[in-house]
Symmetry: C2
Subunit: 228 residues, 2 copies
């Protein structure tokens, strides 16, 4: 059975994001997948990158460099236990699903903190092992999110620009950098402004997509996909 990690960032279980997460757990479990959820708000996940992420002595106690310190700590098994747990989940997963409401053209800070802290040098990348040779090869990622703005606002000529523009930092800058292949994003536009009926259709569409997810080909993660 395949292994899936859902990294989930919403405060309210009754929200559409909460329902999308439950639908994914149910459908993927039904398929025989083993599904793990990191419910970031429920875990009170720490988003701040600080000295607390390193157990024991620092490599350079005179001048703190977070990237260098976590790299060194990773190599000697000295990262904090919350990071080791998340890294273990990532290591075991075939697919990472990120489920969140879009905040300011990006992930909520609590999820950005997961990226900042979990995807440490040594674990997810280590020069020159980045992009196609990143350390998390043979994994897939999928960004599933809700927006405040409408599909029209996020059209190429819309006021917020093509929704793909804002996926560049997430899909290319983070996932591709770590060697992860990216499936097409799953976007529910403006669920707050549609009927309950339409929101139910959104859940059904997600469940439907998940049924054939393993047959999907990753997107071509090049600038053309995003900007042309």
């Amino acid at each position: 059975g395949r292994k899936v990690l859902i990294v989930y960032a919403h405060q309210e279980p009754k929200s559409l994001n909460g329902s999308l997460k439950r639908v994914a757990v149910e459908e993927l479990s039904k398929q025989g997948c083993s599904v793990t959820v990191s419910d970031l708000y429920a875990m009170q996940f720490e988003p701040r990158a600080t000295r607390n992420d390193i157990v024991g002595c620092l490599h350079n106690s005179e001048e703190f460099d977070y990237g260098v310190e976590t790299w060194q700590a990773y190599k000697r098994g000295g990262l904090s236990s919350d990071l080791l747990e998340e890294q273990k989940k990532v290591q075991e997963a075939d697919l990472l699903i990120f489920q969140f409401p879009l905040y300011w053209f990006s992930m909520p800070a609590i999820m950005k903190g997961w990226m900042d802290r979990v995807l440490a040098q040594g674990f997810a990348h280590e020069y020159p092992n980045c992009y196609d040779s990143g350390l998390l090869q043979n994994k897939l990622a999928l960004f599933s999110f809700t927006t405040g703005g409408s599909k029209e606002m996020y059209a190429k000529e819309g006021i917020s620009g093509d929704i793909r523009y804002l996926l560049w930092p997430l899909q290319h800058g983070i996932m591709h950098f770590c060697g992860v292949k990216v499936l097409a994003p799953h976007i529910c536009f403006a669920p707050e402004y549609v009927s309950e009926e339409k929101r139910k259709e959104m859940l059904i569409a997600w469940a439907q997509r998940l049924k054939t997810l393993w047959k999907e080909e990753p997107i071509n993660c090049s600038p053309e996909w995003y900007f042309k």
Copy 2:
């Protein structure tokens, strides 16, 4: 005298980011500006968007919607005191400088949390007052940051793509949405891989730019600036 708010996110005062921040405080103060710094790590600024941001009863205690709750709380003066303080600093400022190391093609989570929480609906935007009619008009913003990757990696044909691609969510998605005009970014590429001499030149270049900053015209914040 003009008022400047520097939102600063680095753990180490001795870092180049710390020096860039100090240079800005010194140079702008010398010009007669009143400069305030929000030193996010030192403040242990909370990046997570939670129910704790609302003082007293919720608008809808059955189903928590962060955007709606903070909007309602803003209107009745019921946001948490740390948010009110930051909003006061923003309100008074003519210029916002964001000083940070680039983490994963974006701001560190602690600064993303500042955006998520401080720029609440009602305060920074309120439909239809967004983009050119956003509520923080007549203010300027400037993103000043350091990168891990080199200038060549962040060239249009480089592996990380044009550095402007990743500025879209920050400058357009956040600042322009709130009605803030954006000055050209200030970017120090890969300071970790250059000589001490070169890093000193970076500080001097920043001080130099600040001397004539108030004469600069904002960028044309349209998709063409970012993607063409």
